[in-house]
Symmetry: C2
DNA sequence: TTAATAGTCAAGTAAATACTTCAGTAATTC
DNA sequence: GAATTACTGAAGTATTTACTTGACTATTAA
């Protein structure tokens, strides 16, 4: 059973941490194992694993263990959700500005 | 002097909190004063003002005080930055999947 | 079979965060 | 000019968070 309830809160919270963003950035270039992921980051493997759990729960990353190595790869679900939320707010706002512009233009006549 | 260094870390961190997201959602429908913003939220005015400061610093919201009332409105800078970051990671990842697909197709020949 | 590698689990800690209260100040309204 | 409204600032608190250490398990390599 996958615990991937990709709600918008989890996604933004996950992306709010610099270490987790670094992980996502790395994974956008291709799949990597946990220890290779931990290498350049100045924290313990345990800490990386904890971040990965959060990233997985938020639908930003998918991991799979084969033998003793767990391979991590980017999952688009999380990013899509965030993109969608942002797009919605933005279009609401821009639509409002448009209406305002029309009203002002009408008044000028 | 405006303290609007809209870096990606601040933006995602700001959007990670449910109260701040509620504020952004409300403001996407149009400008609102601080006290009207605090109304439906079950927290004090002070707390709302603290969230607003963070939102302003992250480039998601712009506020302006006229008389005794501070009016808040959505600012696109923050949202744009987040949208851009997400788009970049996503396109890197999708481009990689494309190349992988091509390689596999070539091998089939 | 032994040693090394890759990761997991549980428990603890220090710092960050989201609040609160209380005491202001300045702008309106009565 | 007195009361009300709309915030602002400082200081404190409880919870969450990012991290650590140390002991453990499984897989692979020598």
């Amino acid at each position: 059973m996958r615990n991937t309830k990709a709600n918008i809160g989890r996604v933004f919270h996950a992306l709010g941490d610099p270490t987790r963003r670094a992980i996502v950035e790395k994974l956008s270039q291709g799949p990597v194992s946990v220890s290779r992921l931990a290498g350049p980051l100045a924290i313990t493997l345990t800490a990386v694993a904890q971040h990965l759990q959060l990233l997985e729960e938020s639908g930003l990353v998918h991991t799979e263990k084969v033998g003793r190595v767990r391979t991590c790869r980017l999952e688009t679900a999380g990013l899509s959700l965030a993109e969608q939320w942002i797009g919605e707010r933005r279009s609401l706002w821009e639509c409002r500005l448009d209406r305002l512009g029309h009203l002002l233009a009408e008044e000028e006549e």
